[in-house]
């Protein structure tokens, strides 16, 4: 998450002859927005610091004989900036011509067709021919993670993926290898992504301007299941998808489309429509009970760390394997729903679980990896979730089906895994799992509900949020971190405390691998910025606020599930279906 350098000091600058007041910490590209100019660029993403690689955003500064890059040049008092003129157009177009000479003209068959920043810029510049010889730099296509696909030939070397992978997520999976024209994106040592430290968070794919880094598409498998009469297709919808998918159809970020999506699923041919939010409520029951267990019995390592985020699980297994004992053993919500669909639901509805095909629609690319992560992911006797697709893939399915999502009438999800509470829905935002857990653990420990259900201390986009929750005089110290880059600080603190044998700084820690949480996951619609994160988060909290039930333990279907099937949280059956194991993994397999 890129936070601009705001100094609060306003200075006067001249843009295209007009005087403006702008914050001293702004770059030219930001300041130009004041003059209603969007300086063209291919590499600068509003969400990331400048990588200064494309060379298109050059502008003129009076008194400087060189052209400067607007993306990374900070304004200075009395700077006189020209954002466009004949020469700038010529230089920019020449650079664009050069970039196009090394980019394959395969737009029609590209996943980013119609949603590609290079395509858009070419259109804006009125590119009608390719003056220079096509020179491509092919590299091996890497789909080894089964979650993210890297196709170096399409790469325009903007460097956003490296920036986000190394400096934001601090995973260090992607790097430029080789030099000059032969340079390309690959894990260090030119190994495959599956053998690299990659945690499949997909932030690279969410920031890529072209089709060089994309999600591993499972759409054909879903269509095949929908077209096969032998198959019983089941779908579940993750919390964060409902507040972001509208952006792909021109709606503002944060618009909640839950019930239209349920209707859509039915139109697409799914026979059972569940909500991952149900799984979220269930996760709270299991994880909350686990926390209480660890607090009251003193057995099990404290603090407890949430484990709903598969990218985070992978990150911890690779970078902090010594902290595995702190992990909650609870599976992630969609895995719980998948496992129950093929057991509980199959029994109730008398459907052969072998014929079931569970699709989960997620804001996430790591979920694609999670579905076959360990043997625990087949606790029902079958792979619990067959396929996980991203929000972006669902958008493509909607468009290819021709269904007009926005015109659909609202419909409801199906029983018995479709209902959810406000606590389940906030799982989509950073702090949400923590807040939902606090609401329920408070009840489980005191027998009473919190007076005020909104736990503001864990909300918001600050990288690490800490606080104390008073439960009958006992303080539960919590920490919430999102974006693996921010998480490291908390984990290092924990590790140091462990090493010192001294008191642990926290009792409960929530982690989400992506900044802002799942609402800005690696599988969400493009062009995410903090402003969009904020709006999607507002959508999530609005969904919670308007819910009649806002506590996981009050979800009637969850209660029924325990009564009819699981007995109680942490029962042996719950353990078999809803919990899993972790193991240390090497950063590099090779």
């Amino acid at each position: 998450m890129y936070i601009e350098k705001v100094t609060g000091k306003m200075i006067e600058i001249k843009i295209n002859g007009k005087v403006f007041k702008a914050d001293n910490g702004m770059t030219i590209i930001e300041a130009a927005k004041l003059a209603h100019v969007k300086i063209p660029t291919l590499c600068k993403h509003d969400d990331l610091p400048a990588t200064a690689s494309c060379g298109i955003c050059v502008v003129k500064i009076k008194g400087n004989r060189k052209l400067l890059r607007a993306c990374c040049t900070y304004i200075e008092p009395n700077m006189e900036i020209t954002t466009h003129d004949g020469e700038l157009y010529e230089v920019r177009k020449n650079v664009l011509d050069l970039i196009l000479s090394s980019h394959p003209f395969a737009c029609l068959t590209c996943l980013r067709n119609g949603d590609c920043e290079l395509q858009t810029l070419s259109e804006e510049f009125g590119i009608r021919s390719r003056p220079y010889k096509e020179m491509l730099q092919p590299g091996p296509k890497d789909a080894s993670t089964q979650a993210i696909v890297l196709d170096p030939v399409k790469c325009i070397h903007c460097g956003r993926c490296v920036e986000v992978c190394q400096n934001i997520q601090k995973v260090y999976a992607l790097e430029f290898v080789s030099r000059g024209f032969e340079s390309r994106i690959a894990p260090a040592g030119d190994i495959s992504m599956a053998d690299s430290p990659c945690i499949k968070c997909g932030q690279c794919s969410a920031h890529c301007p072209v089709g060089a880094l994309v999600e591993f598409s499972e759409i054909p498998k879903v269509w095949a299941a929908l077209g096969n009469p032998e198959v019983f297709p089941i779908v579940q919808l993750a919390p964060a998808v409902r507040v972001a998918i509208g952006e792909a159809f021109g709606l503002p970020a944060g618009t909640i489309l839950t019930k239209k999506i349920y209707a859509l699923f039915r139109r697409l041919g799914f026979k059972a429509i569940f909500d991952t939010n149900f799984g979220a409520d269930l996760t709270i029951m299991e994880e909350g009970s686990e926390l209480i267990n660890r607090i009251t019995t003193g057995k099990g390592a404290m603090p407890l760390i949430t484990s709903c985020c598969p990218a985070w699980v992978d990150f911890l297994e690779k970078y902090y394997p010594d902290l595995i004992e702190h992990f909650s053993t609870a599976k992630s919500p969609h895995e719980m729903v998948g496992a129950l669909a093929k057991t509980y639901y199959a029994e109730k509805e008398k459907i052969n679980p072998a014929s079931m095909f569970v699709v989960s629609v997620m804001p996430c690319t790591a979920k694609k990896y999670e579905v076959s992560r360990t043997a625990d992911m087949s606790s029902s006797g079958f792979q619990d979730v067959d396929v996980s697709i991203t929000t972006r893939e669902l958008v493509r399915m909607i468009k290819s089906s021709g269904i007009q999502l926005l015109d659909l009438e609202d419909e409801e999800a199906d029983n018995i895994l479709g209902s959810y509470t406000g606590a389940g829905t906030i799982f989509g935002a950073t702090g949400g799992v923590m807040e939902a857990a606090i609401r329920t653990t408070y009840f489980l420990l005191t027998g009473k509900n919190l007076d005020k259900l909104d736990v503001e201390v864990v909300r918001g986009l600050k990288g690490v949020k800490t606080g104390e929750i008073d439960v009958n005089g006992k303080k539960i110290r919590v920490a919430v971190a999102h974006g693996t880059g921010n998480v490291r600080a908390v984990m290092d603190e924990l590790r140091a405390a462990k090493k010192a044998g001294g008191p642990m700084p926290y009792d409960f820690i929530e982690v989400m691998a992506c900044e802002g949480g799942c609402i800005a996951g690696g599988g969400q619609p493009y062009q995410v910025t903090n402003a969009i994160r904020k709006k999607r988060t507002e959508g999530i909290y609005a969904d919670d606020k308007k819910s009649t039930l806002r506590l996981s333990h009050e979800n009637p279907d969850v209660k029924k599930l325990y009564e009819d099937f699981l007995e109680k949280p942490l029962s042996p059956k719950a353990h078999k279906l809803l919990h899993n194991h972790y193991k240390p993994r090497p950063l590099y397999y090779k």
Binding site: S53, D97, P131, H157, F176, G180
Partner: protein, 588 residues
């Protein structure tokens, strides 16, 4: 009193050596043995039958004398005069080439010790006045005074861009913060340039001394020398120099007993040319990929590990002790109005005496090429020189007499660069030379920014097309468009300057380009697809030498009749053209 040396040569026929014996006798009689040393010398190369006497250091050569005249000569030289009527010559002009004083136009500041001092001996450096400047800095000056001297000297960065060094020192000193760094950029990489290597190998202490003074001035206590791993000898000598300086208390804790501590460590570069760019170099020291990053912030504000960093090139550092010792004003008295001091050039290419020269700024290219380096090899015709390596441009004959400094070179489309000076003669093809430089820059581009990454290889492919005989007039427009994009939109100097060799060649040698494109001819024969070797039947006497020497045996004929070259089989090596004694092979 200086000693004088009398060298005597006598022809083989005069076995009893009358002149030598006479002089020895005179010197002994007059008890001048402390003043004159008489030496029997081998033949020194003058067409004369009689004896030759040469007296040093005046360098007067006598041939027109008789044995009895010797006494007059001795008496004259005793009074530091000469006897004109016997003199053959007394300056360097008429000496045989190998006896010319090749240092005459040189002025050695940076190279002051090199070749006369054991670089592995700190004692020798100290004896030659080394570390005097450091002592002066620590005890007689303060940082502000050092900066005043540096600014007064007018020294500009010798790495190529020519930024005023004193100003850089001042800017870095002004930056707040307890931790600052000093870096010596020894990542020399221009093809044909080896000035820095020679300085580090020949006089490592002068660079260390400069850096220590720099560290004291800006308030840093850690320095790094970023040096290419391809310079193992320089690394070895630097390491020895560092440990010797530490042993003597000239480096490390409490230098010369003061509170000032400063340490220097080496960092090896893996040989990427772009790591000579300061921000890429800093990234490389930090252990990251050596890619340049945008400036500002400049390293003087935020450099190594985000701290104010003071980075200068080897030659710049080596100038520092001299400036401090002799004063900025002294240094500023050398050179031109805007470019002060001297510049070391590595002269390579088609000159008779290639090597390293140090000349005052403002020396002309003619002086360097002809007076110092002995002119063009084999008396061929001068074509151009390339300064600034792959980032510079070609300078044609018409600018031979232009005094060179930062501004003048820029005004004619080249740059000073780090000091590589490659001389080309009539046999060099400009398109071919441009191809060489482009290939270098393409190979050395880091690949970060698109104008450089793609532009370079596109220009190179167009040049290849031209040299293959497929060039079209529009290709020159394309080259110009790409050059514009690269020069204006590249992030670092590597990309901005990659097109320079081509753009300057198009300025001065456009006709040569057009000949390649329109006539499909390369007159130098360097572009093999654009040359043909044909036997001129009128001139060929049928000796058959060309047929014997042809490596692919494509020349046939009968003795004493004109030979024929089979164009299909010919590989255009040009051997027949070179070996023909009768100029009967035509290249065209």
């Amino acid at each position: 009193m200086n000693k004088q040396y009398i060298f005597v040569w006598e022809p083989e026929t005069q076995k009893d050596r009358p002149v030598y014996n006479k002089i020895v006798k005179l010197v002994n009689e007059k008890t001048l043995t402390d003043r004159f040393e008489v030496i029997r010398s081998p033949f020194i190369g003058f067409t004369t039958n009689g004896p030759i006497v040469r007296i040093m250091p005046e360098n007067v050569i006598y041939t027109k004398f008789k044995v009895e005249d010797v006494e007059d000569i001795i008496d004259a030289h005793l009074k530091w005069t000469r006897v004109e009527k016997f003199v053959l010559t007394y300056d360097n002009k008429n000496l045989p080439v190998q006896e010319k004083d090749t240092t005459s136009k040189q002025f050695k500041i940076v190279l002051r010790n090199i070749g006369y001092m054991d670089p592995e001996s700190i004692d020798e450096y100290i004896l030659r006045g080394g570390y005097k400047a450091l002592e002066k800095t620590l005890f007689d000056l303060n940082p502000d005074k050092v900066i005043t001297e540096m600014k007064a000297s007018g020294l500009r960065g010798r790495g190529g861009a020519g930024f005023p060094t004193g100003l850089k020192w001042e800017l870095t000193k002004k930056e707040p913060g307890p931790q600052k760094y000093v870096i010596c950029n020894a990542d020399e990489g221009d093809p044909g340039a080896y000035m820095d290597r020679s300085v580090l190998e020949g006089d490592p202490h002068s660079v260390l001394e400069g850096m220590i003074i720099g560290g004291f001035t800006i308030g840093a206590n850690q320095g790094y020398i970023y040096i290419r791993a391809e310079y193992p000898l320089a690394i070895e000598r630097l390491e020895k120099a560092i440990s010797a300086a530490k042993e003597k208390g000239l480096l490390g804790q409490n230098i010369l007993g003061t509170d000032f501590s400063f340490d220097i460590e080496l960092r090896w570069g893996a040989g990427a040319f772009v790591c000579g760019e300061e921000t890429a170099l800093i990234a490389s020291i930090e252990g990251k990929r050596g890619n340049p990053r945008p400036r500002p912030p400049f390293p003087s504000v935020s450099g190594l590990w985000g701290k104010p960093t003071f980075i200068n090139n080897v030659e710049t550092w080596a100038n520092v002790p001299v400036i401090i010792e002799k004063g900025g004003a002294w240094f500023a008295s050398i050179g031109t109005e805007k470019s002060k001091g001297t510049k070391v050039f590595a002269v390579t290419g088609k000159v008779t005496n290639p090597g390293l020269v140090e000349v005052p700024m403002g020396t002309t290219i003619r002086e360097i090429v002809y007076d110092i380096c002995g002119g063009i090899q084999y008396n061929k015709k001068f074509k151009a020189v390339q300064t600034g390596g792959p980032s510079g441009g070609v300078i044609p004959e018409k600018f031979l007499d232009m005094p060179i400094d930062y501004e003048s070179l820029q005004s004619i489309g080249s740059i000073m660069g780090s000091g590589g000076l490659i001389v080309m003669d009539e046999d060099d093809c400009m398109v071919d030379v441009n191809k060489f430089y482009l290939q270098f820059s393409v190979d050395e581009s880091c690949g970060k920014c698109s104008p450089c990454r793609i532009g370079g290889i596109q220009i190179l492919s167009l040049l290849n097309k031209i040299t293959k005989g497929n060039g079209e007039k529009e290709d020159l427009d394309k080259i110009k468009s790409i050059s514009l994009a690269m020069q204006k939109a590249s992030l670092c100097a590597l990309g901005q300057t990659t097109p320079n060799p081509v753009t300057s060649a198009l300025l001065y040698f456009e006709d040569e380009y057009m000949r390649h494109i329109e006539n499909k001819k390369c007159l130098t024969g360097k572009c093999r697809d654009l040359v043909e070797y044909v036997v001129i039947t009128d001139k060929c006497i049928g000796c058959g030498l060309c047929a014997v020497r042809c490596p692919v045996k494509c020349i046939t004929g009968e003795k004493r009749k004109p030979y024929i070259i089979d164009q299909k089989a010919c590989i255009k090596c040009g051997e027949c053209y070179t070996v023909c004694k009768f100029a009967a092979v035509k290249r065209g």
